[in-house]
């Protein structure tokens, strides 16, 4: 139990996917223009990422390992992720209009979010068990959402500051992300 808690905290804060491992930066820089979109993207990504990582784990250990075809993992995981995205977006479309309006346009973008593929690859390369994969992916997705939301709120404020022209837009966003990453480094040592 303690191991699982450490795994969760580790993925959530210490080795934060965006700020320490550089995964999922495209949505981080692209979508976090505001708090609401950041939250919606985070929620949608959490859902897809967890589901995809679990299915990828099952397929990897159930099919690829017995057949000694581990090198096909990249192709297979991409197919799994695209399939999960399709499935989730169809399901949401059919069950909840509100949710579909909120998340609909962000779902297709998740297919090319490298954090999703990254979690699946990391979980299999570290030989995590199914339960560990589940905890690890929830931690990773939670950390992604947390940072997206914090950064979204921060960028709303940044837009109204008097920033020198060459720094406007992407440069100041990158530097702010650097300072946030510095703050997250302070958590090193909290969990393995």
């Amino acid at each position: 139990m303690a191991d699982l808690a450490l795994l969760l905290i580790g993925a959530l804060l210490v080795n934060n996917f965006v700020l320490a491992q550089f995964l999922g930066l495209c949505p981080f820089m692209g979508i976090t223009r505001g708090y609401d979109t950041a939250l919606a993207t985070g929620v949608a990504t959490t859902f897809v990422l967890t589901l995809a990582a679990v299915i990828a784990h099952l397929v990897y250990h159930g099919v690829l390992v017995p057949l000694e075809l581990e090198y096909l993992r990249i192709i297979l995981f991409i197919v799994v992720i695209a399939g999960v995205v399709q499935l989730v977006s169809r399901y949401i479309e059919a069950t909840s209009v509100v949710l579909h309006q909120m998340l609909g346009i962000y779902l297709p973008l998740i297919t090319s979010n490298c954090a999703v593929l990254g979690v699946a690859l990391l979980a299999t390369s570290q030989d995590l068990s199914l339960l560990e994969t589940l905890v690890f992916s929830i931690g990773a997705a939670g950390g992604f959402t947390l940072v997206m939301v914090l950064f979204g709120a921060m960028r709303e404020t940044l837009d109204h500051e008097g920033i020198p022209a060459p720094f406007r837009g992407a440069p100041i966003a990158l530097i702010s992300a650097g300072i946030m990453s510095l703050a997250f480094m302070g958590l090193t040592g909290l969990a393995g």
Binding site: G30, Y71, I74, I75, A82, G118, L121, R168, P171, S181
Partner: protein
């Protein structure tokens, strides 16, 4: 070959990393030294050139409706080959950058060029465009890698033997100072990239003040 601006425009004006902010994850993650940057640049070049050429060759055979899945599968195949090649011939480097080589497949710069260019143009021009894109990405990676390595370690080309084999062990250039060890760590990647981007904006002020290019959030 007819002189063609395809290469230059793909490498400089539409530089995938600096002008369009595509492929930021590998750019920031792997640019902590010149050698790592070169390794990833080579792997990315292999994937983007190989897949875009193949997509261009097959552009009449791929049904329009299923084109994106086909492109993704072709890119994933080349990524797998790049991963296997690196694992076989440069294992020291592979251990450091393996995850980001495998993640080339989700680099939207490659899918973007396939969709916008290779699927509509003849093979020769697609090859040039892909080579330009790869060169632009390599330029951005190596610039950032060099600045970070000099700031953090005061060296260039450290650990060259991981990429170029044992005879390259003496290639390291030592400048004899260490300014900012932070540059090699995660926060340093963001800050140095932000400063370089701002510097680029300052130098290229000739064009009208554009804010962030509206990149797709993919």
């Amino acid at each position: 070959m007819v002189p063609d601006s395809t290469f230059a425009s793909a490498a400089i004006a539409r530089n995938p990393a600096w002008a369009q902010l595509l492929g930021l994850c590998p750019l920031l993650a792997v640019s902590n030294s010149v050698v790592n940057a070169l390794g990833l640049a080579a792997a990315s070049a292999f994937v983007v050139i190989g897949s875009n050429t193949l997509i261009s060759v097959l552009r009449r055979q791929i049904p329009d409706m299923a084109r994106l899945p086909c492109f993704v599968l072709i890119i994933a195949t080349f990524t797998t080959v790049a991963t296997l090649l690196l694992e076989a011939y440069a294992y020291g480097l592979y251990e450091k950058i393996a995850l980001f080589v495998q993640i080339i497949v989700t680099n939207c710069m490659i899918l973007g060029r396939a969709e916008a260019f290779a699927s509509r143009q003849p093979v020769g021009r697609s090859l040039l465009d892909a080579a330009g894109t790869a060169a632009g990405f390599a330029l951005a990676l190596v610039t950032l890698g060099a600045v970070r390595e000099v700031l953090a370690h005061g060296t260039l080309l450290r650990d060259a033997e991981h990429l170029f084999g044992t005879h390259a062990a003496g290639w390291q250039i030592s400048l004899g100072f260490e300014v900012l060890p932070l540059a090699a760590l995660a926060p340093g990647a963001f800050i140095v990239a932000g400063l370089l981007l701002a510097l680029g904006n300052r130098l290229l002020r000739a064009r009208p003040a554009t804010t962030t290019p509206d990149t797709d959030a993919t």
